[in-house]
Point group: C2
Chain length 256, copies 2
């Protein structure tokens, strides 16, 4: 089991509108949770402008490093939608009219088909269309790069059509130990536990609830036994410090 | 005015908890809007794991490319708070106990001061503490790198104490032309306007409101005259297509 493959992914948000502050990105969180379910570790996210050279360099760097790259945004019909041509340039292949995409657009628009609309059918040679249950935005996959729309509702629907087919490893599972205690009080003991459980990733996240400081101590591992042991060690540390911990699966902090 | 300096920035989110899907990042949007006000263009965001080597490489790459780099996260007292030591390594300087930070911590904790708490006073040699109106998390600046906390409320309060002192250029201003019309209908005309106004960045963002498709056509420029002209050209395009546009300052899309 020690030689098992670790599957990793990166996300590229192609988004002048995120960098300008116009919108809050919502796609990263959705993809992060979906990839986690599939046993794929999200290792990096980059939010970059709608600039072809930047997209090409970024995608080429990340696709060499990771099993999967997901891009979001820039696949509509307007002049600022340059993702498809940028991905073609990144792979040094032609941008071609995809017959399947063109047929769908022609069927939908009928007489109202025009050059701008047909432009949406252009995807890089060798690309494979991704199902889009919501609209006509033509997402596609080329090798290990998945090109998704930017509108969250459409991106989510498209991702959900194929995510269960993504090859992954054992999923990272989490247990969270929440307690009303300051991070600095647990720091030394927690570091000792992290040393003992070096195959478990332990994170500490402070929170404030009802005017009280607390921290969520999150253990993450693919090994459920080690995960349970680490979480129990953290809980014992807290009890030793005089506070009663709340332990739960996943990474949630109780609200309220 | 053509040789005016363009100030640029990058953000590095040091965040296992963002990559794991535990939390939705909220800091990028706040910083994006604040930087925009100061005439600083946010050009890239990277969300990376709490791994020292990754932080060092990422910060060194971005601080060479931009006037400002802002990091968020990883400056608390626990073992997974490795931002300060990573920044010290990036600049190849020592991590030192900052007397001012140590004095504040000692004053606050009194007899309860301990090694874990004092660890928070360690910042890279040459670093300058940033004011923290909310807590003791010791943000600091080292050259063009600003190291901020990850908790949004604390990050925002700290950023607000110094943002008005950040040198910037003319702010990019925006005007948004909203209309209930499909992107593909406006695409050709919009591309022609973008060609005529190559000093104005024009973005098209589809939306759905009350079951109707619309798009927000956003013009961005430092030149208010050119901005107004481009927005008026977009509005005229829409009127020519038979829809009445709503024009507003900024980048908002009417809700409802």
């Amino acid at each position: 089991m020690n030689n098992e493959k670790i599957y990793t992914a990166a996300i590229v948000v192609i988004g002048n509108e995120v960098l300008s502050g116009r919108v809050q990105d919502l796609n990263v969180n959705y993809l992060a949770l979906g990839l986690k379910d599939q046993g794929i570790r999200l290792r990096e996210v980059r939010i970059i402008p709608d600039v072809k050279k930047t997209i090409v360099e970024c995608v080429n760097e990340l696709r060499a490093q990771h099993d999967y790259v997901f891009t979001t945004g820039g696949i509509g019909p307007t002049h600022d939608d340059i993702t498809a041509e940028s991905i073609a340039a990144a792979f040094d292949v032609a941008l071609e009219c995809n017959p399947q995409a063109a047929a769908m657009l022609e069927q939908y628009y009928g007489d109202r088909i025009n050059a701008g609309r047909l432009r949406m059918a252009n995807i890089p040679a060798g690309g494979e269309l991704l199902d889009n249950p919501v609209s006509f935005a033509p997402g596609f996959r080329l090798h290990n790069v998945y090109v998704l729309p930017g509108v969250p509702r459409i991106m989510q629907a498209m991702f959900d059509t194929f995510k269960h087919r993504l090859a992954g490893g054992r999923p990272v599972r989490s247990r969270t130990v929440n307690a009303f205690i300051g991070e600095s009080v647990v720091a030394a003991g927690l570091a000792a536990i992290q040393d003992r459980y070096d195959d478990v990733e332990i994170g500490s996240y402070p929170f404030v609830r009802q005017e009280r400081f607390g921290c969520a101590l999150v253990a993450r591992s693919v090994d459920l036994t080690r995960l349970a042991e680490a979480a129990e060690a953290i809980a014992a540390l807290l009890r030793g410090l005089g506070v009663e911990p709340q332990i739960s699966d996943g990474e949630s902090t109780p609200s309220g």
